[in-house]
Amino acid sequence: MAIVFKKPHALTDIPFHYCAGCTHGIVHRLVAEVLDELDIEGKTVGVAPVGCAVMNYDYFNCDIIEAPHGRAPAVATGLKRAMPDNVVFTYQGDGDLAAIGTAETVHSATRGENITVIFINNAIYGMTGGQMAPTSLPNQVTQTTPYGRDVNTAGYPVRVCELLSNIDGVAYLERVSVDCVKNVIAAKKAIKKAFQNQIDKKGFSLVEILSTCPTNWGMTPSESLQWVRDKMMPYYPLGVYKDGVKGDRLK
């Protein structure tokens, strides 16, 4: 009998702890499928964040380390510099990557570190119970913006792909979504490219994935997907923000 569907080898058998309707599971699977398809699980080292995905060291079958909050790109830098032939990726949420770890994100990009960054943007801190994230939208109600995010006091949401797009060390930036099958397929293509770029030594590659948090958004899974489409996509347009090789604008 032909096998038409199976769990990627790069995922372990440990059940995910994620909430119903959370899209971490989809993205984990996409990353694992890419590791399988590129046949790189045996030479890949992952870096887990602090946040809801903290325990992904139990889920990915490659060697993996859990980094301090926001420091994943610095840890990845150390891993990659020590073992340049290995494939190193970080998997980070918005608080980790765009708040406490902003410096590590920006400077690993400026150095053109040849790493792959999987960035989950769900506009909220999930693990700590729904506080305002750097990517929370204007007027978005969270535990720490109970009257809605007032941009005059809490500032404006960070658009990570746009922010990094002027940095010369960057090879590739794309914002994708996993709200529907078509976008899931496009997200996988982007993730695969971000890993292939590393194998081809092109420089820093980051894929931003618009994601859901039904629990902390206070929505059903299907309402959450619709919220991604209606609220997040206008502020965070999908698309390619850079596609080349590090330093290519200087040539």
Binding site: T12, E41, G42, K43, T44, V45, V47, A48, V54, M55, Y57, D58, F60, N61, C62, D63, I64, I65, E66, A67, P68, R71, A74, V75, A76, T77, G78, L79, K80, R81, A82, M83, N86, A103, E104, V106, H107, R111
Partner: protein, 353 residues
Amino acid sequence: MSEKILMKGNEALAEAAIQAGCKFFFGYPITPQTELAAYMSKKMPKIGGTYLQAESETAAINMVLGASAAGVRVMTSSSSPGISLKAEGISYIAACDLPAVIINVQRGGPGLGGIQPSQSDYWQATKATGHGDFQLLVYAPSTVQEMVDLVELAFDKADEYRIPSMILADGMLGQMMEPVEIKEGHTPKVFDKPWALNGHKNSRPHNIINSLSLDAVTLEKWNIARYEKYAKILENEQRSIEYMTEDAEYIVVAYGASSRVALSAVYEAREQGIKVGLLKPITLWPFPKKALQEKVPTTKKFLVVEMSMGQMIDDVKLSIECQRPVEFFGRTGGIIPSVPEVLNCIKKMGGVE
């Protein structure tokens, strides 16, 4: 080959690390350790190593975390305020049972403090480098030669016990030049690291390096296991050097730069007929408790000399369980104690005015 050359302490630390097989250095500029990083930036590219100037002390220590996890010998260096910034990463390195060498060329504090030599990070190094239950191996050189010798020992012991080691130096040692012998071309010890994250190559289960446990029972077990390792270190790794202690009725305890001053004062006191010796801790953690305890029956009083308001004195009192009086002399803020000042204290202690 091994001839004596004149070298600055900071540069000697760097060269000793290279000779110990360290090919990865991640740092951030800070006075007074600057020459160390500059030396690494000059040498590392020539030997196929990595020198990387990070965007922050925080990033640098996390690069150390990553490189150490990959299984290579790795070092970072800084000075007092920079070590505070590295504290988070050091806690993770200790929690992950990873080896690494961290240099602290101390300067005066707290806050931005000054850039003159100090020993006021003793508590930080030996008791509270970061959050949680953990220790570092802490080595305290007092000459440029000891800086060289202790760097290789720090790497070897870090690998042996899977623990971060710190060289607790100071701005005086970092900046001074002395003749040193550096063993070149010897083969550093190599340790098997089956835990390293170097890719499982489809030939073993995946390695995980992690310090998180949401289950308190498990976390307690991890910490107890780590303290069993610390017990072995406490038993086996205490080091100190003694000068004229055989017949001493009074003992001065000092480490690093202040021990040089203390030793000169001890020599002068001996000339004046006072039976005094010096006990110089080489390891600050584990503190040389056994050596101090042995001195209790024959010692009337102890004098602790530090370039701080008094930090190591706590460990001296604890080591001898307060069975003898322990006096203190310290200068701080970047001031180095003078020989006459220490001599006066020895004379008072010996009842000679």
